[in-house]
Structure formats: structure tokens, C-alpha cells
Symmetry: C2
Subunit: 289 residues, 2 copies
Amino acid sequence: MTRQQLIDQIRQKKTYLCVGLDTDITKIPKHLLAGSDPVFEFNSQIIDATLEYCVGYKINTAFYEALGLKGWEAMQKTVNYIPSTHLKIADAKRGDIGNTSSQYAKAFFETLNFDAITIAPYMGSDSVMPFLEYKDKWVILLGLTSNPGAADFELKKILTETDVLDEGMHIVKHQTNHLYEEVLMKASTWGTPENLMFVIGATQPDEFINIRRLTPEHFYLVPGIGAQGGSLKEISEKAMNGDCGILVNSSRTIIYASGKEDYAEKAGAVAMEYQKEMKRYLLRTENSI
Amino acid sequence: MTRQQLIDQIRQKKTYLCVGLDTDITKIPKHLLAGSDPVFEFNSQIIDATLEYCVGYKINTAFYEALGLKGWEAMQKTVNYIPSTHLKIADAKRGDIGNTSSQYAKAFFETLNFDAITIAPYMGSDSVMPFLEYKDKWVILLGLTSNPGAADFELKKILTETDVLDEGMHIVKHQTNHLYEEVLMKASTWGTPENLMFVIGATQPDEFINIRRLTPEHFYLVPGIGAQGGSLKEISEKAMNGDCGILVNSSRTIIYASGKEDYAEKAGAVAMEYQKEMKRYLLRTENSI
């Protein structure tokens, strides 16, 4: 899926919602467990019920790998079930040396037909580049994540090439970039807004203005609203650009809206509420251009 | 597998070799492709031929995921084939927010019966802790990797809590820690030498003395000898401690020693050469204690 196709979907449907399929077999309604593939059955019903309110689905690979072969099969069937109008994101957080990253790219962009994959930046450029070589596919690189552990390394201040040291190695002028800012800036030279997005957690709203300044055109995948406490209103106001520029993910709030037989209907209702709210913010942005 | 069991294996067999099963279906001998599971057939022959010269096997998940369901099945059969005398490492480089990392831990420590998994540190403590909760299982956290991209972030210098700033935010005393050093130091407070190792690439030998100073007791998993250019002699001299303290991995040099029908025999011969060399370094260390 190209950037323009994604923007067209957002404008047509007035939504930038991504539904997260973090499908945990211990949390899905009990009546599904009698079937041959409860995870896929759950997902397909959720997809049917939410399709018109979202522009993408994010499949969290951990929940499928935990089930072994059966889980991998359910993931494969789920990706194939999502229509091509919707961005198919593998939330896999992969990243390794070049020849290994090439194998991961093959796994998620060829063997499984995902449009996008989340990637961890720690190992640097050659762990990311193999994914960027695919036409009309996306890298979604971890920038500033929504979890408490973001403070451990992502929010550390680092010395940059523009820092000025005196002869005694004392820093006389310091740019105080956070590690995650260095990730955004460096990765922006590896990919373009056409093939590179960033994960920016909704729990760090104060950072969004600075982040948008550093990467004005890139899309962000924003997890962390709902169960993790981020505000859709606040991040929409602070992070949107003229092309919308954000995909806001909700997983647990939507897919576990009801633990009973009406789970899909309830998931659809929650997704619709998000869509209504997003429509207001989108119209506001369009009117202000 | 406990730390003591691992050390006992190293001492008995006089080797700290780990064989990397980065099994690429396009590179294995052609005669295997006619079978029902060529990847597992290749792996099982390699394991039989190298068992006495190594203490562990590292399965690089990317190469299996690239094959989809068939690959996942081959991985599962391979883990089950490795005897319990050998450390079974999932080279998976996972890491996500807490509830997702719990699912990955379940996938690799329960569904698949691995002893250890490589983890990416970018997202911080809560992405690592769920793996450390398992008894007699190991986290192998990325420290300083062997690839060129290590320079992008891992080798960046960061501001530490012990840096001293003057009133104008000028740094008057700076500890100049690299990001990877901060990872080693912080992670050492999350786990212990009994459940936490670090990945340290063999291509950065000059860093080993400093790394050993920071983490005197931890084991390191060392990739990067052979195809990537690291020297076994140099890293053994610089990184070993009284308990050996290193597992040196070799993948391509061993498993693709021959592309013909004698591939297992040749793999065994290369592994034996490594073992002979390692025995010399081990005896030297034991004699010096």
C-alpha cells in the first residue's frame, strides 16, 4: 500500500484507526474454543465488525507465536482475510544483522503478505535497510514507545555530532538530544515518508510537538490509548499533519469490549465511537488548511 | 539449564562453541530438497556431527519464519532434537511492552522448549523482565553487536546520572558512557549472572576489556567470528573469565563447510578444529587461576 492510498482511505472513511489483533486465546469468549481455529474465528468476526471504522489492522506476532504452529497458521489466515483496502501491519519488532533482517523481510513481506512491519532500531542501519528495499511496503521503526521502560534508554540524552567540546573534553555547547530523537533523525536519512513510519506512544503527548518538528511528513503509529492511558484528543491535536500523519491503534479496548457472544458487535460499536471522534479531528484539520 | 550445568559442560568437553543453525533452504545441499523436511534433515545431521565439539545451538528464527508454517515446524522439531546437555538458544531478538513480552516468553520457553532467547534492549526494563521470571532460563540481551550498524546507536555516547552540569547546562565532568555500556550496567540490576548473558560481537575486540570490567561474572554470547571477521584467539584472550564466561558462536563457517553430500562430516571437522583451539585457551585460563 502506498502513502497516497493510505491517505485516500483515511479521507474517504474519515478515520485513522488501526485495530490491534493482540488475540489472547485465554481472553476470547469461551464458546469459540470448541471450533477448529478459535483465534482465526475471533479475528475474522472482529474484522467484519470493524472494517468500515478503521484503515488498518495490527497483528501482534507474540500472541500467535505463543500458540506455536496453530498460532502461526491463525496469523497466516488472518492476514489473508484482511482486505487490500486496509494496511496490514505485523507488530513483530524484529531487527538483526543484514543477512538475517533480509530473512525477516522475506517472512513478513513475501511468505506472509503484510504491508508493514514494526522494527527495533538498536542494531542500526543494516538491521533496517533490507526491509526498506521492498516496493510499497513499510518499516515502522520504534521511536518513543508507550511503556514505562521507555525511560531506561529511549529518553536518555546523548552526545551528538553537533556538540562542541573544549580541549579538556568538557562540553561547552550541548544539543541534549534524546536517543529516540537521534533514531528519528538518522532513520529519516535511510527511508522516506513513503516507506518509513515511526512508533510513538500516546503516553508521551508532550513530546509530540518536538517529534513533529523533527519529522514533519512521516506517519506515526500511535499505540497506548485506552488500556495504557493515552488520550486520543490530545495526541490528535499535537501530532496530526496536513495528510493526517497518524494511525492510532487500539487493541484491548476494542477486541475485548465484551467477553461474550456479542463480542464482535461490541467491538464494532467501540470502533465506531473512535471513528466518530476521529472524524471531528480530521475535519478540523482539513478546515484549517 | 543452570549456569553451573553450563560451566560443567564447558569443562568436561573443553569447548565453549555454540553452533548457529542459520539454515537457509537456498544454501543447503540440493539432494536434501527431495525429502519431506529438508531443513530439519539438514539440522539433525549437523547436530549429530557437531554434538561432541559444542555446548550449545543457536537457532536463528528469521530463517525459519521465512518459510512460514513449514519453517516453524522445522524449528520445533530441531529444538526437540537437541539433547538436554546442550544449551538451546532462540536467536529471536524479541522485546515489547510487558504483556507482549510475556507472550514471547511463553512462545520460546514453554511452547518451544528453548533454554535462552536473545532480546533487544531498546524498550527498557518491562520488555525484558517477563523473560527473567522463568527458572533456569536465560535472557541474552543485545549489548554491542557485530554489525556495522552498531556505530549508529550502540556506540553513541550518552549523558549519565553521574555527569555534572553547571548552571548553564554545560557539562563540567562527563563519564562518556556508550549506550551499550548503559545497557550492560542497567540490565545487570534486572537479572543476575545466573539468568542474564549479553551479546557482544567478536568484531569489537578492543571493547572487551572494558566490557569485562563492567560485567565481570556474566556470560557473553559472541557472534562474528568466521564470515564476519572476528578472531577467536583475540576475543578468548580478552573476554574469558575464571568460569570461561563466553560462548562463541559460529554459523556459516560450520554449517556450510561443504555444499555437498559430505556437509555434516565437513561441519563436524570444522567444529572439531574450533574445539581444539578452544581447549588450548581454556587450559591456559585454568592454569592461570
